[in-house]
Amino acid sequence: MRYEAPETLKAAAKILAGAKGTSRVLAGGTDLLVQMRSGLIEPDLVVDIKKIPELRKVTLEKGGFRVGAAVSGAELEEHSKFGKVWPGVLEAFELIGSTQIQGRCTMAGNLCNASPAADSVPAMIAAGAVARVVGPKGRRDVPVEKIPSGPGKTTLKKGEFVASIFFPKRPPKSSDAYLRFIPRTEMDIAVVGVGVNLTVNRGGTITDARVSLGAVAPTALVVPAAAKALIGSKLEEEALEKAAAAASAACKPINDKRGTIEYRTKVAGVMLRRAAQIAYDRARGKK
């Protein structure tokens, strides 16, 4: 196994594009090292992107945030502004693993590891985040929901990797929330995860919304029907009920030790109601 630590994006793309056999990008390594250790993968090449300075930074861009692919959870938590603008994204990212894992894990890694239950992914999808993909042919911007294509699989082509994730500028009175259900209070994998991002007007009517569900299908889902049920409402019971039904209807989960199909389907609706309420209160400045 070869280890490379290029210092520029171009060099990283070149090394990855020219590699034979199995290559993996190393950011935090909290999934990669576990997979290598368990023998799930045996890469011929590991490209460490942490020595590329721009990937270690959170930068302001067009009123939004660009989060480098090597920014850890602990680093993003310490950012003075990000969590105030995107509390739902930050709370989702912070749910990943322990303090030790937070010291290393990255959102780009969570996205590209392509676990259906990845916590930060529904929150990023709800946020309308855009991944910047760098590869041998230059760069392209891709909505985050288009990156995972199934458990452990992505749409990235040979030599490509995610260099950063962009969170666009938000209209006033917007906020987001992420909730996940796990059988214990910490250190577990989502049975269901729900990200809700919404904007309200002065009167408290929801004018825009995005909803995403995790752990209930092979990839995290965008659920436009649930968003549609929220838009135009003040989160009255009727709207919540419709949105919850839409969330449950979108689920295509599996049975496993953490939950049955019926259970996950029901809980998705319940979690959506709660996450929508949190996002709504935040958007109205009610915390």
Partner: protein, 157 residues
Amino acid sequence: MAKHHVSVTLNGDEVEYLCDTQQTLLDVLRDELGLTGSKEGCASGDCGACSVMVDDRLVCSCLVMGAELDGAKVDTIEGMADGDHLHPLQKKFLEEAALQCGICTPGFLIAAKALLEKNAKPTETEVRYWLAGNLCRCTGYDKIIHAVMDVAKEMRK
């Protein structure tokens, strides 16, 4: 394949080592440098027994490659006491019997020290969440949590 030549600042000393790509920081510490205070529990980032600081960040050394650390600052349990003078956390763990078999203890101490450096006045809930990535199968956690809370209180005096 040639080994990687890596220079780090380890517990304040300049240290160089050679390692294979496959070796984790934990492998390097234990097998190459003879620092066996950091323990291997799960080797998958769940138990925290291998907790160390890398560039002042709490991490699981089993999830860090040895090869990636050139120029890094690494602090382990071996650097916690000042000669014969135990760190207040170490003293308190002994006084309050916040350990039984001891396998998890170095990880708990490193993690607790990182917490107190960041937050001098943690609530019990904050301590419990911060240490959720450190597993202990003997104590039931209460003594550990109380020891950390007591040290925090004393260090504020």
